[in-house]
Symmetry: C2
């Protein structure tokens, strides 16, 4: 490296950091990115990508099993799944990602970065990098280990170990009932592992209640022991056996324990104290992803706690990279709502697909959130199994779709689809919400027959009734 | 029946006629519907529904085969598929549909209807029905038998016989290369039938050229003998063998021959001559589906040749039923573009899914059509196998997505997706086109990761490059 000064320093080379850097380079800036682990980040190696591969075989088999005449009664070939997982994570080798950085004109520095002053970052305590314009913290989040006696000593798995697994344990107890817990319970059950889910409250909290209820029912049908409303009081490991003691005194034992109780920001050791922020806390930013009160410090992705999803972090990253370049070059900033330089959708339309069985796809507000926001809510519920596309899909299709309408504005503000193969349906709702397309106009968006998308027509009929 | 006079007479009780009638009843009119075959129409018994069931098992098996670790190498259980087909078509019994008509308050008359004067329809030549306000012709279309010597005497199948099949023939030769030909070739090939497709030009003409090319390649991989640019000159049947002689002198023999060369309006014997229209011709209507020059005659669905698709016919039917009621009651008519009483989308956004392998989903204008319309076209092509959602879906995912942008307006005007499981992706494009959502705003519609919908992001990146 021939210089220690760049226009922009990005800390963390996950998808978010990569996108901030890429957009800034495209905007004419010189950019260095600092990474202490693998370039490509959590999502590529230990989260979205491998987990989807672990889930896909089971989903495809269910699809064939439920389609009359496909005549399948096979089981998941776990070894083949793990081989495909290894391919997808490139054997945890980031050479391809490093090559991409080079092609994109982004300088890579490996090591642990800490902010050590205004527009200054020090790597591994020795190498000082200076930013002419901005520093962006994109260090993401890590699994949160709750403060349960004995847990840390029980060698718990997090999503990392669960997605990087080499040998499926005979049994697995999962702490938590969120997306990670539900997805990994689904995958491991499909591998023949005896799974127990211990959740404090209903599954998939924060989503429409029927989503978690449906997933719980399906998990139970798949043989998973789902317990909600329970509290883990103590964890003990004895050799190849880990035991969880619950609040009511009952015990659950398994070969391994997976902790999926939430995320914590990876901001404990990036030098936040040097700029008056609290180490280990989420970082508060405005809609251009700039830290409030700072001229030069940005935070993007999970660390902001705006939406802990890869795609949403990348969305923020595009806005941030563009606005950093614009400000550096004195170009006009477009920060009105839905402008180029702001992540407005974080407040209105965060899509999420949970690849359970059934799949859960949601975007925008739930009924509860919409009511809390004071919106004149109209709820449209429809049984997905009633659309023609469901009956041709499978004789036992079961699903539900809910739309949340803002009656005053005559537009959609939220949607939740629960059922097999609903993932690709979601983007239609996201576009309707973000585009603020009036329901009157949506009557002219004809769903193709026979598909699951026909639920849109049913929603509109329900709305006009 | 206590009266022979109704506000509205609907001729034809397929999905289109049913929807015209239903909306008119909801609008306060008295309605009679006349049907000479099964209530529910072509789509329910001999087209969309049974054909999708014939295709589903093969698609589900391919999905499992291509998902690493699903470990399936099974074959379609034809008997099980046909049993499910029988269920879906209710054994060609329309009792359920008749019940629906009754529940909707629609009077049913069985028989053959002919227009015999102004606002007058005669059933089976003896029973006269009078309409206080309107008559709607919703008789649909039938398979067109091209004028090829020997064809009619060769006992050819149309889509009706092919979807109602009881015993799969050893071999099948298909005349035509459109949607019906491609779908049924896919289904029959999955049943182990030796299929030959004889098409005058490329497959799926009228769609983006790469769609038909991909389907042709896949059909060939599945063992189908696909011949394009050929002309059938003569057909002869000899016992259980039918032989097609081509223009170049070669012959193709098979157990059965399926004609899928297009559709013809079922208007030959509905009394169009009584109102100065040409029997057997398509019927020209305005956007409210009223026959041009008439105050009281409407035509809806396939008979208009606007878009020969069930969902689009039902869309027209909603407009027509509503506007007939509005006009009958002197209520204001909303016939501005995208208004409640017009089928504007017929001109801008007709969606269609072809359930072949790969699936083809298209809406709006193709590149060629957009250029012909004088639009400042920008074409965005993206290899669907490059999105993360494709790589988790299957190790051999192959697909293409094309967006057609109107540069002057900054909106999407067309989209085509080709690949496995793209059907539900289509509605996102339909909403973007119909909603005229600016591309600038679409940047804020974040596709969930990892799904195929991420192609939207790639299109936008390509557009801004």
């Amino acid at each position: 490296m021939d210089t220690a000064e760049f226009d922009l320093i990005v800390i963390g080379a996950g998808p978010v950091g990569e996108n901030v850097a890429d957009r800034a380079v495209q905007g004419g800036l010189s950019v260095v990115i600092v990474e202490s682990e693998l370039v490509g980040g959590e999502c590529s190696y230990w989260a979205c990508m491998p987990s989807k591969v672990l889930l896909r075989a089971g989903a495809a088999l269910r699809g064939a099993r439920d389609a009359p005449g496909a005549g399948v009664a096979g089981a998941v070939d776990v070894a083949a799944v793990l081989r495909r997982r290894d391919e997808i994570v490139h054997d945890w080798n980031d050479a391809g990602q490093v090559e991409w950085l080079q092609g994109a004109g982004i300088e890579l520095v490996r090591g642990h970065a800490r902010i050590t002053g205004e527009r200054e970052v020090t790597v591994d305590g020795e190498r000082v990098l200076r930013a002419r314009h901005a520093v962006a913290v994109c260090t993401g989040s890590a699994a949160l280990l709750p403060d349960i006696p004995g847990l840390v000593d029980a060698a718990p798995w997090t999503s990392r170990e669960a997605t990087a697994v080499r040998e499926i344990p005979e049994s697995l107890v999962i702490l938590g009932g969120g997306v990670v817990a539900c997805e990994l319970a689904t995958a491991y059950a499909s591998f023949g592992c005896a799974v127990t889910v211990l959740a404090r409250s209903r599954l998939l909290g924060g989503m429409e209640p029927f989503a978690g209820d449906r997933v719980a029912t399906a998990l139970r049908t798949a043989g998973v022991d789902v317990r909600t409303g329970v509290d883990a009081q103590r964890v003990t490991r004895s050799g190849s056996r880990v035991t969880v003691e619950l609040g009511d005194g009952t015990r659950v034992a398994a070969s391994e324990i997976l902790v999926a109780t939430g995320r914590t920001p990876r901001t404990g050791d990036v030098g936040l104290d040097a700029v008056g922020l609290e180490p280990g806390a989420w970082i508060d930013v405005d809609d251009t992803m700039r830290v409030r009160g700072s001229e030069w410090l940005y935070a993007v992705g999970d660390v902001t706690h705006r939406a802990l999803l890869t795609h949403q972090g990348k969305y923020q990253a595009r806005a941030a990279g563009d606005v950093i370049a614009a400000r550096a070059q004195g170009v006009a900033v477009d920060d009105a709502p839905w402008g180029r330089h702001v992540a407005t959708a974080d407040h209105a339309a965060v899509p999420q697909v949970t690849f359970t069985d059934p799949e859960v796809a949601s975007v925008g507000l739930t009924e509860a959130a919409a009511r809390k926001a004071g919106i004149a809510v109209r709820v449209l519920d429809y049984n997905l199994s009633w659309v023609a596309g469901a009956s041709t899909h499978s004789a036992r299709y079961d699903g539900t779709a809910r739309a949340i309408v803002d009656e005053d504005r005559g537009v959609l503000v939220g949607a939740t689809f629960v059922g097999p193969d609903v993932a690709e349906l979601l983007h239609s709702a996201t576009i309707a919400i973000v585009g603020e397309v009036p329901l009157r106009r949506l009557w002219h968006a004809v769903p193709p027959y026979p598909t699951l998308s026909e639920v849109w027509l049913r929603w509109l009929e329900e709305y006009d009734r």
